[in-house]
Symmetry: D2
Subunit: 296 residues, 4 copies
Amino acid sequence: VGRNSIGFIGLGGMGEPMAANLLSAGFALRVYNRTTAKAVPLVEQGAELAESPADACEPGGVVISMVADDRALQDVVRGPSGLVAGLGRGGLHISMSTIGVETARQLADEHARAGQHYVGAPVFGRPDAARAKQLAVCLAGPPEARQRALPILRDLGRGVWELGDEAHAANVVKLSGNFLIAAAMEAMGEAFTLAEKHGVDRAAVASLMAETLFACPVYEGYGKAIAARSHEPAGFRLDLGLKDVTLVQEAAKASLTPMPLAGLLRERLLSALAHGDCEKDWSALALGARRDAGLD
Amino acid sequence: VGRNSIGFIGLGGMGEPMAANLLSAGFALRVYNRTTAKAVPLVEQGAELAESPADACEPGGVVISMVADDRALQDVVRGPSGLVAGLGRGGLHISMSTIGVETARQLADEHARAGQHYVGAPVFGRPDAARAKQLAVCLAGPPEARQRALPILRDLGRGVWELGDEAHAANVVKLSGNFLIAAAMEAMGEAFTLAEKHGVDRAAVASLMAETLFACPVYEGYGKAIAARSHEPAGFRLDLGLKDVTLVQEAAKASLTPMPLAGLLRERLLSALAHGDCEKDWSALALGARRDAGLD
Amino acid sequence: VGRNSIGFIGLGGMGEPMAANLLSAGFALRVYNRTTAKAVPLVEQGAELAESPADACEPGGVVISMVADDRALQDVVRGPSGLVAGLGRGGLHISMSTIGVETARQLADEHARAGQHYVGAPVFGRPDAARAKQLAVCLAGPPEARQRALPILRDLGRGVWELGDEAHAANVVKLSGNFLIAAAMEAMGEAFTLAEKHGVDRAAVASLMAETLFACPVYEGYGKAIAARSHEPAGFRLDLGLKDVTLVQEAAKASLTPMPLAGLLRERLLSALAHGDCEKDWSALALGARRDAGLD
Amino acid sequence: VGRNSIGFIGLGGMGEPMAANLLSAGFALRVYNRTTAKAVPLVEQGAELAESPADACEPGGVVISMVADDRALQDVVRGPSGLVAGLGRGGLHISMSTIGVETARQLADEHARAGQHYVGAPVFGRPDAARAKQLAVCLAGPPEARQRALPILRDLGRGVWELGDEAHAANVVKLSGNFLIAAAMEAMGEAFTLAEKHGVDRAAVASLMAETLFACPVYEGYGKAIAARSHEPAGFRLDLGLKDVTLVQEAAKASLTPMPLAGLLRERLLSALAHGDCEKDWSALALGARRDAGLD
């Protein structure tokens, strides 16, 4: 194949299948992960192992990051072995982690000061969607940088939605999406509890909704789980859900946007954690409505 | 052609196309509406005009009602010219209006005491869906009564979801569905305002969501309207939305089910009415998040 | 002694000591209670027993009512043996029950149509305060009617606060007061739980607040109970608390006034009822914050 | 006169009168403020001017801090010219600022590691109360350290409430108090708007409440302001109110304590800021209920 070489930072549940897809698509990859073991399968598929984030970069090249949270990304970008140090002038950082809006803004600035480009490209989809190239990508950043990122991102998902020239806009949208999911889960938690209290089968309500008004992935999948109160194993852990809702609230505060429904979700998630549901899927937030109603 | 005669009460925006579809399907209809003018087109299509709800009934026959609210339905059922008086023993009332759970329970009792059957069969869908036989029907009531209602209901919509032996269960589910819609609208109102405050195009967010996680009618249709703040003409008036959320809250109170999100919706709808949005579509409840954020 | 004769309707926990105080103050009383037994002690103190609300009235005279709820008061006012029938032209109904705003408005109209006066005069205070003439009276209604009521009301409490010419205004204020009490209880429930979760003694926080910023009856009394989670026996039952918060919400709806905090209180009270706390004092609503926090 | 020398850090609106009171009480003071000009009046009253926080300390001595926020206090404590560096073994830091619980915990640790003592001693009261020695002091920390702090604190206020052995407990309680105040303001905002919408005078309701159930400083003072919608000049700025409610929410999150009412307050304060009320008193949060109700 012989396409360009790309750096790839972060080989966790999401990053590993994404990197593997890029390899299959013909990209040469230099991969880095904090714990090296996770890189082994990719090296066996032909990736080169980098010793630091900077080492994964080529001067003026492209590097993708997909790490756990704001702190992890800051660690990857900053310092003598970080991406800013490694990318050189004209380099491009495609930042795909779910991070806070303010962090995105700061990192974009740090790259810009080094003559580098930064685009936000967080995704919707779980590891299985990543493997199946079914991620939905939110893309924002300077136009030329987006142009450069687009062909790569198209090999990672089923579509790229462009959201303007400011990189952090992509994170606003990614967080908004997670907020919408959590809101739908709370709504179902309340509705199904109302039904249950009136002697109606929770699963029958969930089916009806998922087959009619709400025939879409979020209501289909989470609806079934919430109706059955089946929240293990976790697809997305409840404590990570709280992390994301907290990021939503920080973005809301920074922009002076009251979001009472986000506030309700926060209280539900805190209550779930207080009841020991940390390891459950974040859809377990819907148990709160049932507990409130005296059903345990 | 040549099928049984059915009574049909209530020829408003929903009832008229439903009755027309039954005529086309070969049912003989006796129709009644409080204001006779609305019955004219149906009479031209072959329906017989009844002079009262009771007059639309045949002893032991089937009558369908589709009226505006609890009060209207109680007026139709009770009294010397009401359905209980007209149906006779063994008659069946298919009650399709969006009414409260307690009202449904009472009317089922009143019919039962007269040796009659009552099923709840409220629907999801607007007048255009009614005309296109695309309604989704929630059906509940005694098994034999449901059996008798099913073939008729199948001529009115795209599917019938059965929800158990107690007629009011169908109303719980119908109200739950309207609650889920309103909750989704509030969530979008907050999410799109967050995006707007960060300089992101509301419509771009709405599209992304409607094409990915939330590719379903509620998010597609209302999402577009909420993004564009386009709430006129009303598909479903905001004051009727408050009526339905109030019915949800009454059902919640009767069953001791706390529903904080329903409470939030109530406040949003009240605030919209206080700002003069009574004639707008109920999706205008999403304007509240924007007003709160100082955008006017 | 030798003052005018007054009718007094409703000899429950509140009405009985109030009537007794009027007797002591020299008023001649004609008393009525649905169950006659409760009238016995007053008759022994010199009151005359009336056989119906109408029978307690003198044409053009004054009658006081203090009954359980809207329904009870409507029953007392309406019908052939009701107050409207008994009072005659120029009579005055001093309505002291805690009732809804709309009911007050209707009853004022009904009396007015009969050429009678109606003032709203609900009170703050429990039975012990009633006995000790320490009630605080909210008074509203037409000026001359208020003038006529004032000397009587001054014998029932420690003060009369006049709130304008429309009788229902007094009920708005009474309900607002109960709302403020419930809001303070919820606030303490959350604050004390926060303290407890951080290892701070709930009672110490309650004392500090009641000795400084909040040195007033509501925070002193309820603060101690909420800190100790001591909610029995009930001073004011939780289900009655929900009745009053519901009246607040109805007044809010009628006037298009969003009250999110009232909504929160409603959910707390419903949850308490769902957990079997119906017989407890309404301060048990504060247990909700603790349950949410996983402390049981 | 002739009492021990004390260091005093932070001479703003609160710190200056507190320091002046200590001088009057006979303490020798070494004072430090980031901008020296504010120290001049105290120097004229006999205080010695320190060049850094460390310089205000005597080895093994006592130092009081009263600064604007967490960051300012961290700057005062840490670094080569900070309190930890200056206090020496056996020194005592009496920390009186309103800061977050986690910050308090960290600073207590940092002092402990240096063989020093730290007590939390935040106060209730505004600058006028500080000047009049009417502050209420929340005190927590190791018993001997509290013993050492008590005689000094008694010269600053009208009482000291002891809250256990962990310094941060005092901050939990201080923040809880501010939360209770804000909750009371929101409750009044809703209640007075309900009254206004029914044609009842806001001020009349405020008076009644402040003279009866809520005869305490918070309802008296804020009640009058909220009734009159008089929020300037600010006694405590709205943005500082949001800072404190945010600290409450952080403490709630750290302890897994859902606080829906705190969440409501946050949204109100954000909305007020979005409407340009940043410079107003934080009681302006009560305007939100009125705006929601369409009154502007």
